[in-house]
């Protein structure tokens, strides 16, 4: 069917993070940035500012005081969390943009819920495992399936075909891709985030989130493994959200990479259930 090159060419049609989001991402990674600088960059886009403030005051964070200015949101929640919020707003926009082509008919709201859930699950698992910068995990979780958004935009017809197979035959999305011999969402997604100039760890967790065993030697091995487990767990809890209907396949190497014991895993699930109850503001953006 469609060759990878052809598809990648079509990635041009996808919205890329605008100048403001790009600047937010780069400021949040610059060690010399101050809260004021980042706040100023966000404030250029009033709508983005408002959405970020709304999320910052959401039940998920449960901050005891109401945050009214961006500067405070950045100080209290941290640069990276605010960056994540900006990234969430952007990804949401990309997913729900009006397509020039026909509609693939997939449940975008469900797919978005999957993105948010995997972001929260990755962050929660990182927290339990003692990963110091859990905010990075949120972004990696949020973007892991961005390739599916790309496929939906580039070829709604193909997406429709894939979805038909997965939903009717109770198959996993990746199996359907193999059946139809189309470039996988992991590959397309990785190309996309690379094009967006996101850090390498995002590129790797997008391309490796079904095969953490291939990234054992990567500096990002733990991040990829965490995103993989978060994805599997969320697929078990909410089957179909990610357009996958088969039995989620757990890659055992991921458990080894993290030295994950069943006891920690069940603690993770318990804490995750609590957190997922507080993410309504993210889902209904």
């Amino acid at each position: 069917m469609a060759s990878i090159e052809k598809m990648i060419d079509k990635l041009e049609e996808l919205p890329s993070p605008d100048f403001i989001v790009q600047r937010i991402i780069s400021l949040a990674s610059d060690p010399n940035t101050s809260a004021r600088e980042l706040a100023e960059a966000i404030m250029i886009d009033a709508s983005l500012s408002a959405k970020i403030l709304k999320l910052a005051n959401s039940a998920y964070y449960g901050i005891p005081r109401k945050i009214t200015v961006l500067n405070e949101a950045i100080m209290i929640l941290g640069f990276k969390t605010v960056r994540n919020l900006a990234m969430s707003v952007f990804t949401y926009g990309a997913l729900f943009q009006k397509s020039k082509r026909e509609d693939s008919g997939i449940d975008r709201r469900a797919l978005w819920r999957h993105f948010v859930y995997v972001a929260v699950a990755s962050e929660t698992l990182g927290e339990i495992l003692g990963y110091p910068v859990k905010e990075e995990l949120f972004m990696n979780g949020l973007l892991h399936d961005i390739g599916k958004v790309a496929l939906d935009v580039i070829s709604p017809k193909l997406m429709k075909a894939l979805h038909k197979i997965t939903s009717e035959k109770k198959r996993n999305f990746i199996e359907a891709e193999n059946l139809l011999e189309v470039p996988s969402h992991t590959l397309i997604g990785a190309k996309l985030v690379e094009k967006w100039l996101l850090p390498e760890m995002v590129v790797q967790s997008v391309s490796g989130h079904h095969n953490p065993d291939l990234y054992i030697d990567s500096i990002n091995a733990e991040i990829i493994a965490i995103v993989h487990i978060a994805d599997v767990v969320i697929n078990i809890m909410h089957p179909g959200d990610s357009l996958s209907y088969g039995k989620p396949e757990l890659n055992h190497e991921a458990l080894n990479i993290l030295s994950l014991k069943p006891k920690i895993l069940s603690k993770f699930i318990d804490r995750l259930k609590d957190k997922l109850e507080k993410v309504d503001e993210f889902i209904n953006m």
């Binding site: 101050s34 964070y61 901050i63 005891p64 209290i76 941290g78 495992l129 003692g130 859990k134 603690k267």
Partner: protein
């Protein structure tokens, strides 16, 4: 430009790490690691003040010292930061308050609260987070180590405590391993284990316990002391050991003996009252009869009666003498009046005086001696008493209905001693009673059946007299066949004053 910034901050981080690691080398307690952390924090962001709380929001450690900066005013924020594992900075008035939860494996271990003059940069925040993570990990490990050390100390103390308890035991306690080695011994055993006889016996019992897996007991006499040994099996991992207790029960045995003597004394009193009343009753009855029928009584009957009265009073006198001797013996006041005498004559006269008693019991009594004269330095009255006692006993304990009853008295001169044998074919002494018949109050038929009369003092008086002469007395006997009483007494004193 960007590159040079990164290089600079990279170097700074490495410098901070180096000094932190150097500090870690000398750290022994959680407080020390927290102090080191405070020093590092000051190098990163130069806070105006720092407060560190533990997971229960207690135990504040602060910089500057002894000023908690009223941290409770941030209580709500502290709760939030700890609940959400969130590193955050709040503008409060003109300062920025930083809240850095210390997290270890998803669990909050404490929180660092900083007061800053200005907003920290991304790099500074990241560095603060990394160091707070590192310190909580190190602090946790130090606490684990302290806990472990404390537990070890506790185990050791408990063991010492148990050892001290075992050491106070009056018993010797050892534990023998399956390989037959002593793996534990209490102090008493260490002090007394020079007795190989006891040790060997204890080990033998312990080996039996290990082989059979059941409790075993034993007793041993060594150096005049009695020991009781009790061994119990003890499962230790997959092996069987034997907890072996060795107890000196000599005093317990003596106590038992005293109790027995007490019992025998009570029996003796009942017995002696009976013994005294029998002749007295006869005397009273006969003399009463004579008194009431003095006119009609004929001379032969009168002679018969008075003879009985005489014999009974003589019996009474003997009994009283025996009692008197015994009383002297008890008070250690029995004295020997020694002189050089011919023992043959002394014994012969005793045999002669018992002849009539023997005849009346149909017992053949004879005396033999290879020598006519055996001269010895003894108390003749007492030696006669010994002979009389043994002979009368031999006659008394003859078989009632048997034929050919005899008592043979034999005197032999040895090198420095003379040997007196009194042999009979009477009832004999049961084997288990042999050791006891010389004990005071002891009668083989200790029951109050009065089948055979006697105070039960005779043989103990014999033994005392013989021993006061520096001699010894023993018995060979077979139940139902007869007994031979042997008395061996030195011919002269050899420095023995005979008073004890």
């Amino acid at each position: 430009m960007a590159e040079s910034i990164e290089t600079t901050s990279g170097k700074k981080i490495i410098t901070l790490f180096s000094s932190f690691i150097m500090e870690l080398n000398n750290i022994k307690s959680r407080d020390q690691i927290l102090s080191a952390l405070v020093r590092i924090l000051r190098k990163i962001v130069s806070p105006k003040w720092v407060v560190i709380l533990d997971e229960r929001k207690k135990l504040p450690l602060s910089f500057p010292k002894d000023d908690d900066h009223n941290y409770m005013r941030f209580s709500e924020l502290i709760d939030w930061a700890m609940e959400n594992n969130s590193h955050s900075f709040y503008p409060v008035g003109d300062e920025i308050v930083g809240l850095l939860p210390m997290i270890r494996a998803g669990e909050i271990r404490g929180i660092i609260i900083l007061g800053l003059n200005e907003e920290p940069k991304v790099e500074e925040i990241d560095a603060l987070r990394v160091f707070s993570f590192l310190s909580s990990t190190v602090a946790e490990n130090i606490m684990l180590l302290q806990e472990l050390t404390e537990k070890n100390r506790l185990v050791e103390e408990t063991m010492n405590y148990l050892h001290s308890i075992l050491d106070t035991f009056p018993e010797m306690v050892i534990v023998v391993s399956q390989e037959g080695e002593i793996v534990y011994m209490n102090r008493r055993f260490v002090e007394e284990s020079n007795n190989d006889e006891i040790k060997e016996k204890a080990m033998q019992i312990a080996r039996e316990v290990i082989e059979t897996g059941t409790r075993r007991t034993g007793e041993i006499e060594s150096d005049g002391q009695f020991y009781s040994i009790v061994a119990e099996p003890l499962k230790y991992y997959s092996t069987t050991q034997a907890v072996t207790t060795i107890m000196n029960i000599t005093s317990t045995k003596e106590l038992e003996k005293l109790k027995q003597i007490d019992r025998m004394k009570a029996e003796f009193i009942a017995n002696i009252s009976h013994e005294l009343r029998t002749p007295l009753a006869a005397i009273k009855a006969y003399s009463e009869t004579i008194l009431n029928s003095l006119e009609e009584i004929d001379i032969d009957t009168l002679k018969d009666f008075t003879k009985t009265i005489y014999e009974e009073s003589q019996h009474l006198e003997n009994l009283l003498n025996e009692l008197l001797d015994f009383s002297k013996m008890e008070r250690k006041a029995l004295k020997m009046e020694r002189r050089n005498v011919n023992v043959v004559e002394v014994i012969k006269s005793a045999v002669d005086s018992m002849m009539e008693y023997a005849n009346s019991n149909k017992v053949k009594l004879f005396f033999e001696s290879n020598d006519d004269v055996i001269e010895a330095y003894v108390d003749p009255t007492r030696i006669r008493q010994v002979a009389l006692n043994l002979i009368s006993n031999a006659i008394k304990y003859s078989k009632k209905e048997a034929e050919n009853k005899y008592v043979r008295v034999k005197l032999e001169k040895k090198e420095d001693t003379f040997l007196l044998l009194v042999e009979d074919n009477g009832v004999g002494v049961p084997k288990d009673k042999l050791g006891k018949i010389f004990e005071k109050f002891y009668r083989v038929d200790s029951s109050l059946t009065y089948e055979v009369s006697g105070t039960g003092l005779g043989l103990s008086i014999v033994k005392e007299i013989v021993e006061l002469h520096g001699g010894r007395v023993w018995v060979e006997s077979e139940e139902g066949k007869g007994s031979t009483f042997n008395v061996e007494i030195p011919l002269s004193l050899e420095g023995n004053d005979g008073q004890h």
